[in-house]
Symmetry: C2
Subunit: 354 residues, 2 copies
């Protein structure tokens, strides 16, 4: 395991993951959903804020919040994971936000369909991509920029792709993009541009730094690489028992326990989850519950566990219906992305545990 630098610690102190015990909640309470902010959280006055829709459109449009809320609203419960989740488990070490495995959360997002807003402006036949630009400004790859990412036009027109103004029944909190953010269910977090300022229809693919430098699977700076898009499958267990403060090693009493956790994939429904208590040497199947929160949210799984005294290493792995399976450990890439290697939890099974 590498040691972490001051620069990485500065990011880890600002941003945060989901405390894994909160996996017990089907929808993540506000403040516990993972958070990754590239620059600063912008201060937005909702009274003067406007969304501009321009570029390859029939008529440039602006919307205030009231106008957006007057359009038909749509709700999606979606699990969102950072593309950098698992980065710290890769070797050699990749310097950036140092996630272990906790960069995930599930929100009940409400807003208007991107489709409805684009139709109001009229999409020109020349349009091929939709660019979403936020109000968050900073310097990255040596370049001053507003955070901006594009989607293929066809994806942007999907009925579950939203401009979200509510999270869990209330206005977006500042840190999640107040007053408006993009939500693309199933895609890694960077897709879901926060603090939206502008939607621009493009006649050519976007080549901004968050599209062509960041968020690509590549091994050298010289190659273009493949863009990251949908979340790979992952299962995470609620750590059983109680933690030791500093090491987070768990103490569990011997005997029968019901393990529980959540699993998700942006590619296809979860087909199966296996669990292990010997660090992945042997596995047994968990019971995967129906997708009660809809197609875009994680599913709960449970597994009976007979805990025998001694030091155990719990693990779990998910497989989705497209055939994707979590690897034991993810493979290195330049940006440290998409490491969906299996979770490990060290547990001391001891009669002393409360």
């Amino acid at each position: 395991m590498p040691e972490i630098s001051l620069a990485e610690l500065q990011l880890a102190a600002r941003n945060h993951g989901l405390p894994l015990e909160v996996l017990r909640e089907p929808v993540t309470p506000v403040g516990l959903h993972y958070l990754l902010v590239h620059y600063d959280i912008p201060a937005v006055d909702p009274a003067s804020w406007r969304l501009t829709v321009d570029g390859e459109v029939e008529s440039r449009r602006t919307f205030d919040l009231e106008a957006l809320r007057a359009l038909p609203s749509h709700e999606v419960v979606a699990t969102m994971e950072c593309a950098g989740n698992g980065r710290v488990r890769l070797s050699p070490h990749v310097v950036s936000q140092p996630w272990l495995q906790e960069a995930v959360g599930t929100g009940r997002w409400r807003g208007v369909r991107v489709r409805d807003v684009l139709e109001a402006a009229g999409v020109a036949s020349s349009a091929v991509e939709v660019l979403f630009t936020g109000l968050d400004r900073g310097i990255e790859h040596g370049e001053e920029q507003l955070f901006a990412r594009s989607l293929p036009l066809e994806l942007a027109l999907d009925g579950d792709v939203l401009l979200a103004y509510d999270l869990n029944g209330a206005a977006l909190p500042p840190q999640h993009g107040f007053p408006l953010r993009l939500l693309v269910p199933g895609w890694y977090g960077m897709t879901n541009v926060k603090w939206l300022d502008r939607i621009t229809l493009l006649a050519e693919p976007f080549a901004g730094p968050q599209q062509v430098q960041s968020y690509r699977l590549r091994w050298t700076e010289d190659e273009a690489g493949e863009p990251l898009s949908r979340m790979l499958p992952r299962a995470l267990l609620v750590p059983p028992g109680i933690p030791e403060f500093m090491t987070r090693t768990r103490a569990v009493a011997p005997g029968r326990h019901l393990l529980e956790g959540r699993a998700w994939s942006g590619h296809a429904p979860i087909a199966a989850v296996d669990v292990s208590d010997d660090d992945g040497a042997t596995w047994w199947p968990a019971a995967v519950e129906p997708a009660e929160l809809g197609a875009h949210a994680w599913v709960r799984f449970t597994a009976e566990w007979n805990a025998e005294p001694g030091r155990r290493v719990l693990a779990c792995r998910a497989r989705d219906e497209s055939g994707l399976v979590q690897p034991d450990a993810g493979s290195w890439n330049l940006g440290g992305y998409a490491n969906n290697g299996v979770q490990r939890i060290v547990v001391e099974v001891t009669p002393q545990a409360g």
Copy 2:
């Protein structure tokens, strides 16, 4: 600067500080207030939850949430800071939650006075301390425990010491102690026991591990040390300009800027704040605004700054009316507590900055 271990990173990924740009807000939005959870966030069913008041009382009492909400309510806006804030800046390195300087937040807390609840049970003349025990269980100092801390009886009877059930106008979020937590304005965060289960009047001082091992200023394991109590003065600036993603170095255009920040002390009102742009070689006074949020909350300060091109190191330091002043750097102690050394912000003043 030390490097950070995996164990410390596990804590940093769960817990989080205040993103410093959010110092612009007088009351910290939910999810941005610093968070330090020793063990796991307990799952509490508010329907079956009860608060027990026992020990040196005339009659043991239990309260459900409805009974507590029926008592007279009281609101306090309070700034709360972790006793470990600044720990990573100490040398030699102290291994624990690795805070830089961001472990702070200000909440609008509403609840019932501890005094009113104790009076309902009747305080026996034998009582000298009040013990607050939470539902959060874990292992620390080699000992399984529920998080528990005591207060001197006289302090517990203070009219601003609350059992809080609301934060910023809504029920406490799970991570801040739902359904009930202690609030002791002016004291470091560990005082404010979350997920309260029991209040016990004691005839002798409490000697639990969070009272006699943790949260004491000491230099060796052998000495008793002094207990931590009230927050030392500290000022923090909103970092001006825009950040570089990885280093958090700021870019600012040359010319006149209005710096702003917040300052607080648990000992006395803030008397003065000074700022520097040459790493503390020279200082000039900031304008400190009146305490509009009450006596227990931070105050805003502003300072004109004429930014000249080049690399600058901004700093600020607070002095309170008791005469306490922030040191340039805090001094080492075994637990890494109470380091209120001055904040530094590296700024590149450049005409290219947006």
